[in-house]
């Protein structure tokens, strides 16, 4: 284990945590809209959100590269209005991880919200609660275990993301390289032993995330 390895592990963990925190409000909001509201274009949004789960990750990465590249519609807008460049920076890493793990979070959070008895939300309304109060005092507290499971799974998914990351963030050691990308490079360069060390660390981190999820879910409500 070198200092570079520790930097790599810290960076990968920070990116995974950052992307998970970033997608949490978006994912829960989407999950709630899909579970509890009827609206135009619902099926389209539902399909788009789930798409990264079944597409080759490099395709998702390619789409992100097109959208957020300096000549892409979003990338251009961010560059001219905010002076922000995304691709091939750590921001692109967060973006790629977020896009790849959002479907899992939405999937879990949605089914958790759907399992909340609507009669409880209705009774809250008759007791004078507005929609926000219903959401934060009834729906989310009752769905929290499922949402938490989704968060941990999204985090674990983000830790292991490779295809989309390499497309949109590249492999710039110390700046955009994540654990999976580093492992790939090491194997490519014939440094198998070093690759195995990092693979072991990857496995350990994923194991801990899933195990923590299980343990949290088993706890009393």
């Amino acid at each position: 284990m070198t200092g570079d390895d520790w930097q790599l592990i810290g960076f990968s963990a920070r990116m995974a945590v950052g992307s998970t925190v970033l997608i949490l409000p978006l994912g829960v909001a989407l999950a709630w809209l899909l579970a509890r509201r009827q609206w135009q274009g619902k099926t389209l949004v539902e399909t788009l959100v789930s798409l990264p789960m079944v597409l080759p990750p490099v395709v998702t990465g390619l789409v992100l590269l097109q959208l957020f590249g300096q000549r892409g519609p979003l990338g251009h807008w961010l560059h001219t209005h905010w002076g922000v460049d995304v691709v091939f920076t750590w921001k692109a890493v967060v973006l790629a991880l977020g896009a790849m793990s959002l479907p899992l979070l939405v999937l879990f959070a949605r089914s958790a919200i759907e399992e909340v008895n609507p009669a409880l939300e209705q009774i809250a309304r008759t007791l004078g609660a507005g929609e926000w109060r219903v959401l934060f005092t009834v729906t989310l507290p009752l769905a929290r275990r499922g949402i938490l499971a989704g968060v941990l799974l999204a985090f674990a998914r983000a830790l292991g993301e490779f295809g989309a990351t390499i497309m949109v963030a590249g492999n710039i050691p110390g700046r955009t390289t994540t654990l999976p990308v580093a492992i790939y490079s090491l194997v490519e360069n014939g440094e198998d032993a070093h690759a195995w060390v990092l693979a072991g660390i990857s496995t350990l981190m994923a194991f801990l995330a899933l195990w923590a999820g299980r343990a949290l879910q088993r706890r009393r409500p």
Binding site: N117, A119, Q122, I123, T126, L127, G128, A129, T137, P221
Partner: protein, 363 residues
């Protein structure tokens, strides 16, 4: 509160279901109105429309001069109707304690105020010592009281109860029926109760609205509707031909003596205090008639009576008697012929003690 007035006149249809019509449904004063009818008659839908949880197709709902629903549009959403709604399964918040459940509708009040109101509610409903429990740790009867406390805590102007006792086991239901009546009286909040249980309707209601297949088929004071059903449909739904108000004189060894009209009746009953007001309920097929003064027949109640009217219904004859109070009997036509029954004839009405059902009306 006695000038309270709710006026509802709306229709609601679920795809494939019958059209449910709440035609000129009026609730006035602070009494208890029971919306009574068989399962599937649309009672709960009417209640949910009033609560703002279901949206009528057409019509209007006006409460205390405030429009809740008109022209196919919800004007006042559920959260602004200031009503107390107790659904059939109580819908207590499972993640909140009893105290937190009761306080849920008190948002916007100070902590001290909330605490005082919760204490008042738990005291009133005998829930002291349970404030820190979760709903899952309560018995069915306790859950029912918490649901009532939660609905009442915010001082609603209208209370809506959906089958308030049906989620309970039979002994608990019987015990809580009287308790609930007493508590609703103390509250004096205009209340609408939905039930398919005839005993619940008799025990809890002041006024009765009978609903069948989505239509209001009769309305009036409870006793009047039960004793004088407007037609055979209503008679079939209420299914108790004789309902008479009375008072308990004594109770001993499972037998109650009650005064009804000018007559004393003996009935099998749970312990009842002397002086308790009751409804004595007798189904017509349980009233046997005899022309001789049989001294040795088994029924405890042998009532000298006069035939007032006879009405053929298929192979049966509905016989209205006067035995000190109006009593209905049903016999087959051959039996009537054999006994040579006719209007004005004296008979002896025989009713076994277990077949007189007493519904307590006071605590």
């Amino acid at each position: 509160m006695s000038d309270f007035r709710l006026h509802a006149d709306f229709t609601k249809q679920f795809s494939g279901g019958p059209v449910i019509r709440a035609e000129a449904l009026e609730i006035t004063g602070a009494g208890v109105t029971v919306l009574f009818g068989p399962s599937g008659s649309g009672k709960t839908t009417v209640l949910r429309c009033l609560a703002g949880l279901a949206i009528p197709d057409t019509g209007e709902i006006i409460c205390g001069g405030e429009t809740w629903f008109a022209n196919g549009r919800t004007v006042t959403p559920a959260r602004n109707r200031r009503l107390g709604y107790v659904p059939q399964e109580y819908a207590l918040f499972p993640h909140l304690t009893v105290a937190e459940n009761i306080a849920y509708g008190l948002a916007g009040q100070g902590a001290a105020e909330k605490q005082a109101r919760v204490a008042e509610m738990t005291g009133w409903l005998g829930l002291e010592g349970l404030a820190a429990r979760r709903p899952a740790e309560l018995s069915g009867g306790q859950q029912q009281r918490v649901a009532l406390a939660r609905a009442v805590a915010r001082q609603p102007r209208l209370l809506l109860l959906d089958e308030p006792l049906s989620a309970l086991d039979a002994p608990t239901r019987q015990r809580l029926r009287g308790e609930l009546r007493q508590r609703l009286r103390q509250l004096a909040i205009p209340t609408l109760i939905v039930t398919h249980d005839r005993l619940e309707a008799l025990a809890l209601g002041d006024d009765l609205v009978v609903l069948d297949e989505g239509r209001i088929v009769q309305r009036g004071p409870v006793q009047a509707v039960f004793s004088r059903p407007a037609n055979l449909t209503v008679a079939g739904i209420v299914a108790v031909e004789t309902v008479q108000a009375g008072r308990v004189l004594a109770w001993e060894n499972g037998l109650a003596t009650v005064q009804v009209g000018g007559v004393q009746l003996t009935a099998v009953a749970e312990p009842l205090a002397a002086g308790t007001e009751i409804f004595a309920c007798i189904r017509a097929e349980d009233v046997m008639l005899s022309r001789d003064a049989e001294r040795h027949s088994s029924p405890r109640n042998r009532l000298p009576a006069t035939v007032r009217a006879m009405l053929g219904e298929g192979s049966l004859m509905r016989i209205e008697l006067d035995c000190g109070f109006p009593l209905i009997s049903i016999l087959t036509k051959p039996a009537c012929a054999e006994m040579e029954l006719r209007e004005g004839a004296p008979v002896l009405a025989l009713v076994k003690a277990p077949q007189i059902h007493l519904v307590p009306r006071s605590g």
